[in-house]
């Protein structure tokens, strides 16, 4: 029963990774692709590390695997946010079907300095 559980966990994690890759291939622009890569991808690989932690059953290996998961969960949103901001500042346009762009007109130069409300008038 234990091995059935571990095997199902591994297959679910691999399916999440596959969904992330399909999203990366099919979604229309870099901002939407970032959703697939940074959420589903992180969850899939994190779940695989959790599977190792359960499978090992030893405290030294499980703690290393869980430390890897924690590190991974800390860094993935940071890198995704950094890349999204860099892409926006560099001027990569969102998809034409985008409904709302709250940052439009708020970057005053290419170095990424935000314009405050005082500058706008």
């Amino acid at each position: 029963m234990f091995y059935y559980f571990l095997g199902s966990l591994l297959i679910v994690a691999a399916i999440f990774n596959l969904i992330a890759a399909i999203g990366l291939l099919r979604l229309p622009d870099v901002y939407t692709r970032m959703h697939a890569a940074s959420k589903a991808g992180t969850f899939g690989s994190g779940l695989m590390l959790v599977t190792i932690a359960i499978h090992a059953g030893e405290i030294n290996i499980a703690s290393r695997a869980l430390a890897g998961v924690a590190f991974f969960l800390l860094t993935a949103p940071i890198s995704a946010h950094l890349l999204a901001r860099a892409a926006y500042v560099a001027g990569i346009d969102p998809w034409s079907g985008t409904v709302r762009d709250d940052l439009k007109g708020h970057y005053k130069d290419k170095q990424g300095h935000l314009s405050s409300d005082d500058d706008k008038d």
Partner: protein, 121 residues
Amino acid sequence: MTPEQFFDLAILISFGLSIVAFIFTIIRLILGTTLADRILSLDMLVTLGIGFIAIFTLYTGFYAYLDMAIALGLVGFLATVAFARLLMHRGETNDTPAGDKLEDIEDEADEAISNPSGGVN
């Protein structure tokens, strides 16, 4: 099917799904359209690599590979941060080949020579 056999089968299925995910990500890396898409694909490749190493750790039962996955996560995070800075300071969006850009510069230089009083635009 015994539980151990199911677990071995699950590992093989996870390998297969991960390889398909790798192929999709590499297709996006080649198609690109913008530099940000390619950086995102590289980030996704690192994520998939961590998952692949996790499956390989379970396949061999040799837990030292786990440290490699954590180190790969660290390197991948730093690479994405560096690429995001590059994208921000490079500042251009369309991936024109270097030769085309050179022609534009030459055209502007020709105009400037033939029309010296044209002023700066």
